[in-house]
């Protein structure tokens, strides 16, 4: 054969018996360039009195779903125009497949219809959703408080070994990234301060700026954001996967509270580790400022350290550390809440993780704002 892959061709002719014959020739493979049914339709419209549709497939080469969909369209055309559909001359396999696809009638109510809800119901539904979300969160916080009380009474289903393991994961193993980020923050603060303060010949106050900004705000905020992205996301993914695997249900069927057994160790670990990490972050950040000041601003090391010690008050320091612990609670709460609320498929775990980080960071920044207002009012 000279032409091994002849293109698909369709020819339409009238037969003597008043039916329309579709001559199908060449390779009918589901790629671009297959003839459509429009010629058939045109022919049907032009030639009145057609009673049936026939096929002539003597010159048909290879075929796959491309031919099937064409034939099914012809079949639908026949039904629409009340023509007889003569499948006898089709290859036996095609006829069989067509029959198979027609055995189970289409389930009319199964086809999805997307309906755009009007604005008002949408608003209402979002409001209800927000309310149920809030209620769930409050319930979860309540469960955590009860679990903590149980722990104090020594009745919680809780293993310290789990808590220590989480402590190791979220504490020492996070030192590297916390150090890097906070060192850079210290550098940046010193640079920003230096460019402004040298105008007034007050570059020595860079030490004050770095110390206060770090100890009160940046140290705990940056650490919290890092830990939220690192550990909060891990909590959500761990608990979410456990939900998917029915591991959480397994706890419930044994009457073991998932909050006491899974959430409490994570919460305690973060509350214990966050203040320590903040302390570490403060130190590293001040070291960053120290480096810039001594190398580029000609401030002597002793002077810088003296200014730093003078600038930091005990209240600022304790405020930073306390905020760190509080952010630890927020991270553990959002991470674990999103994990436990997770749906039961792989996509849901991804959503839970994303949502944990987004909620966590939002909660951290928002509550820091509230802290700032409170501190201002109390003149701390």
């Amino acid at each position: 054969m000279s032409n091994e892959h002849p293109n698909a061709r369709l020819m339409v002719r009238r037969s003597t018996s008043g039916s329309l014959v579709l001559e199908i020739a060449g390779d009918w493979l589901a790629r671009a360039g297959l003839p459509g049914t429009d010629t058939v339709e045109r022919e049907l419209a032009a030639a009145g009195g057609v009673k049936a549709l026939e096929f002539d497939t003597r010159a048909l080469g290879r075929w796959n779903s491309g031919l099937m969909t064409f034939i099914l369209k012809c079949h639908a055309l026949c039904q629409a125009n009340q023509l007889a559909f003569r499948a006898e001359t089709l290859p036996a396999e095609v006829a069989k497949l067509i029959q198979l696809s027609q055995v189970v009638p289409e389930k009319k109510d199964a086809v999805r219809t997307v309906r755009e809800a009007p604005l008002l119901p949408q608003v209402g539904e979002s409001a209800i959703e927000a309310w149920t979300g809030t209620r769930r969160m409050l319930t979860f916080i309540g469960e955590n408080v009860l679990a903590f009380l149980n722990l104090l009474r020594g009745r919680a289903q809780f293993r310290w070994a789990d808590a220590f393991l989480v402590m190791q994961e979220c504490g020492p193993q996070a030192l590297g990234i916390v150090a890097l980020i906070n060192f850079l923050i210290g550098l940046i603060l010193a640079f920003v301060g230096a460019t402004q303060l040298t105008h007034f010949g007050a570059s020595i106050y860079v030490a004050d700026l770095v110390a206060i900004a770090t100890v009160r705000e940046m140290g705990c905020i940056m650490t919290a954001i890092i830990i939220c992205g690192r550990t909060g996301a891990a909590f959500a993914a761990q608990l979410g996967t456990m939900k998917v695997n029915q591991e959480i249900e397994a706890f419930q069927t044994f009457g073991i509270s998932p909050v006491e057994f899974l959430v409490l160790p994570r919460m305690l670990a973060l509350v214990a580790m966050m203040p320590l990490l903040c302390l570490f972050a403060d130190l590293i950040s001040i070291a960053g400022g120290f480096l810039i000041s001594t190398l580029m601003l000609n401030i002597t090391p002793v002077l810088y350290l003296n200014r730093t010690v003078e600038a930091i008050s005990l209240t600022s320091f304790l405020l930073g550390v306390f905020k760190g612990a509080f952010f630890g609670v927020l991270i553990a709460l959002t991470g674990c809440l999103r994990g436990i609320q997770c749906g039961s498929n792989a996509a849901a775990v991804g959503q839970a993780t994303t949502s944990a980080v987004v909620t966590g960071i939002t909660a951290i920044i928002a509550s820091d704002g509230i802290f700032a207002v409170i501190c201002n009012a109390l003149k701390i």
Partner: protein, 265 residues
């Protein structure tokens, strides 16, 4: 055995399963005697697992209640329900083993929570339970390191940890090869005979159903209620409902194959 002379171990009364306002199943009634293997069967998506979840306290029914030893389950206090839960063992479809713990720790955890046994005793019992399901020597493996069938058996071992009165088993044969599946059926029969526990098994594997089932309920997604109940082998022979017969004979109208096992009860 005359069912009316004694309180059934489990009695389901007028149970309605619903998600919000969407009713999945209504009017489910069943009586399960002590030591029976009760099968919940039906096509895919008909609410078998949902019924199981209500029986083990994971989902509250919309209506009706389940009575264990004549005591209502959902209408009793949280504390009583927790106590009742401790007499259950649940083997989940994929095993649902706690992935951060070894097999021995998985089996030992409930023992540690609810008994005053020493760590050595707990390890001993865990070893025994794992040996019962044929996993001797795998005590220190993590769930991710063993096959799906082994996870399933380990899940059964964990369900056996507290010597339960009732064992719930979700889809024991799903995802297993025919031989493992048959071995698991044998194991269930042996455990029932030796422990005297009552089994509630969700399944749609016909061979398994006929091999182990003493009693059953057939749920149908179309009519949204139970369509038949009784011994599955008897249902296959005598059910007047063509759909149930079709299901139990895989739609093959050929004469039913002989029962693979003599009746046990």
């Amino acid at each position: 055995m005359n069912a009316d002379t004694q309180t059934p171990k489990i009695e389901i009364r007028e149970l309605t399963l619903a998600y919000g306002s969407y009713v999945v199943m209504r009017n489910i009634n069943a009586r399960i005697q002590r030591g029976e293997i009760f099968i919940i069967m039906g096509g895919s998506g008909c609410g078998k697992s949902t019924l199981l979840r209500q029986m083990i306290g994971l989902k509250e029914p919309a209506q009706g209640d389940i009575f264990y030893d004549g005591v209502p389950f959902w209408q009793s206090s949280d504390e009583e329900r927790q106590k009742r839960l401790r007499t259950f063992g649940v083997a989940f479809q994929g095993g649902a083993l706690w992935s951060s713990m070894t097999l021995a720790e998985n089996v030992g955890l409930p023992l540690g929570e609810y008994t005053d046994l020493s760590a050595a005793d707990i390890a001993e019992i865990a070893r025994l339970k794992l040996a019962l399901v044929g996993l001797k020597g795998f005590e220190d493996y993590y769930p991710a390191e063993i096959s799906g069938g082994m996870c399933k058996r380990a899940g059964l071992a964990r369900a056996l940890a507290l010597d339960p009165e009732i064992l719930f088993f979700d889809e024991p044969s799903a995802g297993l090869d025919p031989i493992s599946s048959r071995n698991l059926d044998q194991l269930i029969l042996q455990l029932r005979d030796s422990l005297g526990a009552t089994f509630v098994v969700v399944s749609h594997e016909l061979q398994s159903i006929f091999a182990i089932g003493d009693n059953s309920v057939f749920l149908d997604a179309n009519t949204r209620t139970m369509r038949a109940q009784g011994n599955p082998r008897a249902l296959r022979q005598d059910s007047t409902d063509p759909y149930v017969r079709e299901f139990l004979t895989r739609g093959e109208s050929a004469p039913a194959p002989p029962a693979p096992e003599p009746l046990r009860v």
